[in-house]
Symmetry: C2
Subunit: 326 residues, 2 copies
């Protein structure tokens, strides 16, 4: 059944039933706004979109995964502040010939992650549109103490990163290549692209252990490091030899490709962060996932990044991250 067969209001009723009870809310889907009680403190809010043909190819994307990812990319921003998510609003612009069960599947995917991360879907909006555009806004909570701003890096801080940057871009390359054989290789990298895990627990560790700044690397490691450095008014050196290269990427791509994917792949929802040497030791003990120290903050001009290490000469710096309109 297509959504144009049932109309907006019946679709909202189906979504409401899919979401079910939202005990954290005074008022959920079905009024002019959602409402909830909040104790005094710090609020965080962020918004991010997935646009058909830009962020996903509808030929390869499953609706369940889109629902998961639309929330994940927002949770990643909240994680990069050291916060937690609480309420999500979902705005869908959709062509009328989308199947109703696809929208249900979208919400089921989002609910998988919402339940894991204790987020309530508070409401949203549905509009007709010639192409699919998904915008999620996420409201969360944080604290002033330890808040992970981009602007907090200090000279001499170490630069580190969670996980294996480049995995999502490698996964996208694999997914969109019709000659890719099936199997474990495909599956694991592709999952990095279609179902990124927001680093909420890691953001919490960074905040508690005194990291000086953090950012998620959705635009690519170098591009987002550039944002962090510009905000902090400092530069950095990055040792290309210390980049963590996912074994599957190393086996499937050349060293040059692998290093470029790691530095500029984009859509990795890993955390890039800075901390003093001592704080970094404590972070390494607590963080619980792959973590690599890859460089150091310097007094180079704001935003300037120097690549060092034997492999530095391999890398073409023109591929400096995902830019809209770039």
């Amino acid at each position: 059944m297509k959504i144009e067969d049932i109309g907006e209001f019946e679709l909202i009723e189906i979504i409401r039933n899919t979401i079910g009870e939202t005990p954290n809310l005074l008022l959920g889907i079905g009024d002019d706004a959602c409402a909830w009680t909040f104790h005094a403190g710090i609020h965080l809010a962020t918004t991010d979109s997935l646009v058909e043909g830009v962020h996903f190819n509808p030929k390869f994307a499953r609706w369940y995964d889109l629902g998961y990812k639309a929330l994940a990319v927002n949770l990643s921003d909240i994680a990069a502040m050291g916060g937690l998510g609480s309420i999500a609003l979902v705005s869908l612009a959709l062509p009328g010939d989308i199947q109703v069960e696809d929208i249900v599947s979208f919400y089921q995917g989002m609910l998988e992650l919402a339940r894991e991360s204790e987020v309530s879907i508070g409401g949203g909006n549905i509009s007709r549109s010639p192409l699919i555009s998904i915008t999620v806004s996420l409201i969360g909570t944080g604290s002033v103490a330890g808040m992970l701003k981009r602007s907090g890096a200090r000279k001499g801080d170490l630069v580190a990163i969670t996980g294996f940057p480049g995995s999502a871009a490698a996964g996208r390359t694999v997914l969109y290549n019709p000659c890719t054989p099936d199997g474990e290789y495909t599956t694991q990298l592709v999952q990095s692209f279609i179902k990124p895990v927001p680093r909420l627990a890691q953001g919490h560790v960074l905040k508690n252990e005194g990291a000086s700044s953090a950012i998620d690397i959705s635009d690519g490691l170098l591009a987002d490091l550039g944002h962090l450095l510009t905000a902090s008014g400092l530069g950095a050196t990055i040792d290309v030899d210390k980049l963590p290269l996912e074994p599957l990427i190393k086996s499937g791509f050349s060293l040059k490709q692998a290093a470029e994917l790691a530095l500029s792949g984009g859509e990795d929802y890993e955390l890039l962060f800075t901390a003093s040497k001592n704080a970094m030791k404590n972070i390494a003990k607590e963080i619980g996932v792959q973590m690599s120290i890859i460089g150091r903050i310097t007094e180079a001009p704001p935003g300037h990044i120097e690549l060092t290490g034997e492999n530095a000469s391999l890398v073409n710096l023109n591929t400096a991250g995902w830019k809209h309109f770039g």
Copy 2:
């Protein structure tokens, strides 16, 4: 200059400068999320979109007005709860050939209303897209006491409405008609469509004076009354003769057209509300804008609306409001 000439990050810098200081925020545009301090209480949140070709025709829409309206439609939802807006997030999906000064103009229009209504623009997101899609999410504050839910109407309550419903739809008809002469007639109705005034002060009066329920009539008077009645499990009679008809509409359209515009025009950001006879008297004293009592809540089946009055026979109920995919 086109936005694709300067890229996403320079555009964000220009937007940041356009918005200027945001003293209510701990952290505004330029980090992974915005942050602010909140005292204990009730939060409200809502989201709404304007999609090119669906909600506006780019041939007739000015960017300044789009910015104003994108915030206004969200403030209207918060007004319909009796609340106040506080933080807005702006998600823009844009073709690369949009002019930078148009985006600046968009934010200036939004800022006009944001300043009037004490809302801070906290952040947002910019994506490339083949067509323009604007999503604003608004976080606000409310109170449990007097919260204007859709579900609160009671049998015997009077039904009333602010302003002149149908004005926006009449304005849209005028705006999109190439034969329309210029002049006052055009201007005033068209303004109702392109620059609707959210009824924040009126929502506040309704909450304080004990209105039992409220909704904004963005989908049209009958459609939104239907939503309110369904939520309340009741029906209503509406006296078509008591509908407030804007003099300019009466002079430019037939009585049948005028009544149908008022009942089902859509995009009027007026408040439809219910209250006991006594509460309605106090509301009428305080509300400060055109207000009309147009009907009464009955025990008819949930959502059922009976039209009464001499003009009721004029109206074709098939035109029952704006429906996406309808």
